[in-house]
């Protein structure tokens, strides 16, 4: 029997599976936060979630609207100051996985969350980097999740907010970045990983029902495909149930009611 699900649910479930039990994860707000908490509520109960507000090993019951919601502090093992978070915990090398989103991404998984257009005369001014520039260069590895479209998957990002694989394999090491950089990019169409030879993103699995042409049409460069492209496992019944409950609780809580 096949279960009905939305592209967004497929994306969050696939992203959640990229985290493993026991991983220490620095979590970005939005899609990464949904995926990280779904992982904790399903296959990775021991995943350690850290938010840049200083909350360490937090277990929120609903998804936070901001990285500093009170829920994150109440459910945390401890809460440290923001300088301590960035200096001791991130720069100090305690983070296994940085989990990021973006407004734009290029073939080497460099990320833009700063501006569309020229920095001095932007077409669209985005919020900016926040914690991401250093999360991207201090964590042991990076996971990225965002929706797939020609506007987000661009040939060249307008601004490198956070370093991915730079201009290709070897860039990160040459610049002095720590960690392996982006290991996996999860969208609503497919999963991509850097090619071993060039570090350019290539499609490794397509979500069920998605064609290679759909991915090509939504990517702003000629996207590579792995030699054998698999099919992403569809969301399981339990994953969907837990994710939907999580979203429903979150909506009730943020509307002002009790969850």
């Amino acid at each position: 029997m096949t279960q009905e699900y939305t592209p967004n649910e497929m994306m969050v479930v696939a992203a959640s599976r990229a985290l493993w039990d026991g991983a220490v994860c620095f979590v970005g707000i939005g899609l990464p936060s949904a995926a990280a908490n779904l992982a904790r509520m399903t296959h990775a109960p021991g995943v350690v979630l850290i938010y840049e507000s200083g909350t360490i090993e937090t277990r929120p019951d609903v998804l936070p609207l901001s990285i500093g919601d009170g829920e994150l502090c109440e459910q945390a093992v401890t809460t440290v100051s923001v300088p301590e978070m960035f200096r001791y915990w991130l720069q100090g090398g305690r983070i296994d996985v940085g989990f990021l989103g973006a407004a734009q991404i290029d073939r080497y998984a460099n990320l833009n969350t700063t501006v569309i257009g020229d920095y001095q005369h932007p077409k669209v001014r985005l919020p900016g980097g926040g914690g991401a520039p250093e999360i991207a260069t201090s964590s042991r590895e990076i996971l990225i999740t965002l929706r797939h479209s020609p506007r987000t998957f661009v040939d060249q990002v307008d601004f490198v907010t956070s370093l991915g694989h730079g201009s290709g394999k070897g860039s990160r090491e040459a610049m002095g970045a720590r960690g392996e950089g982006p290991k996996r990019v999860i969208t609503d169409l497919c999963v991509m990983e850097p090619a071993p030879d060039t570090a350019e993103l290539m499609v490794t699995t397509l979500h069920p029902g998605i064609t290679a042409d759909e991915v090509r049409d939504n990517t702003g460069w000629p996207i590579r495909f792995a030699d054998s492209v698999g099919t992403t496992d569809p969301p399981g019944a339990r994953e969907l149930e837990i994710l939907r409950d999580l979203y429903a609780r979150t909506e009730r809580r943020h509307a002002g009611g009790a969850a």
Binding site: I29, G30, E52, S53, G54, T55, P64, L65, S66, I67, G68, D69, G70, L72, C73, T79, S81, V82, P83, M85, F86, R87, L90, Q91, N110, T114, Y119, Q120, P122, R125, L126, P127, G128, G129, G130, G131, A132, P133, E134, T137, S138, F159, V160, T161, S162, L163, G166, S171, R172, M175, G176, A177, R178, H254, A255, G256
Partner: protein
């Protein structure tokens, strides 16, 4: 030495036109009442410093208090853009706004360096990041021991820092709890410091390692209940997420914004947080 003052008197005494001003509070304990009193007193040409400008700086920028913003993430958390900030940056309304943009790691380190009395902060950051190309205050130094190339930014030394906290005692010692952000660093880095609190109590009864600002590092303590609203004060009230969502529509349009500020901030008495009347 902390003097107990009204909010109006504290802003009159410690915030001047042209000052560099830090109102800190990382999502939690955002000093809205203090920021709105600065708006009511029509301070001008401020350099506003804050990691996450949030709605309070959107309001201050839209009301013309600032000519420069130093920040590291300029959005409405979980909602979208800060429209007044964008209007000032993109169209110069109501006045042109210069920006100095950093990452969180840089600003957190810069506050810490300010508190430590150092001229700059050194950290491993901005690697491969384009901000280093557009912000001349992002430079690099070589470690004299290992040769590693590290990022350097000037320390943050505000003329005045304003923060909100849960409690102060009658002497003016201040207790901060929950997500403490960079408030301690912001206060210790500043030439002058104003703290608003939910309440003034006989004794803080604080655990040994609690975050305390001793009365002698604070210039003014102001009792301002709900002074962080619509952000939250751990142990007192929660964040009004609906306000943050509604702000998107209010701030999108110049006239709607101006009318809202007249009705909800300018017409209120000093020391009242906008929205406090809604409780």
């Amino acid at each position: 030495m902390a003097e107990r003052m009204s909010l109006r008197a504290a802003v009159e005494a410690f915030v001047e036109d042209g000052d560099s001003v830090a109102l800190e509070g990382f999502t939690h304990l955002i000093p809205f009442a203090a920021g709105q009193e600065i708006i009511r007193q029509r301070r001008r040409n401020l350099t506003l410093i804050r990691m996450t400008p949030d709605l309070i700086y959107d309001q201050m920028i839209g009301m013309g208090c600032a000519d420069k913003l130093v920040f590291s993430w300029g959005g409405n958390p979980g909602v979208g853009s800060l429209h007044r900030l964008r209007d000032a940056v993109e169209y110069g309304w109501p006045a042109p706004l210069a920006i100095e943009e950093h990452s969180h790691a840089a600003m957190a380190s810069a506050y810490e360096a300010g508190a430590a009395g150092l001229p700059c902060a050194v950290f491993r950051g901005y690697i491969g990041a384009d901000l280093a190309k557009v912000n001349p205050n992002i430079r690099h130094v070589e470690c004299p021991f290992t040769g590693e190339r590290l990022a350097a930014v000037p320390s943050i030394r505000p003329d005045v820092s304003l923060v909100h906290a849960q409690r102060a005692d009658r002497q003016g010692n201040v207790l901060l709890e929950g997500i403490v952000g960079v408030q301690k660093e912001a206060v210790l880095a500043a030439k002058r410091a104003v703290v608003t609190v939910e309440e003034i109590v006989d004794s803080l009864d604080a655990p040994a390692n609690a975050t305390i600002l001793p009365h002698w590092v604070v210039d003014a303590v102001v009792e301002a209940p709900r002074g962080a609203y619509p952000s939250y004060a751990h142990g007192y009230y929660s964040r009004d997420n609906a306000y943050y969502k509604q702000w998107d529509a209010i701030a999108r349009d110049r006239e709607t914004f101006t009318r809202w500020m007249q009705d909800n901030v300018m017409s209120l008495d000093s020391g009242t947080a906008a929205g406090a009347k809604r409780q």
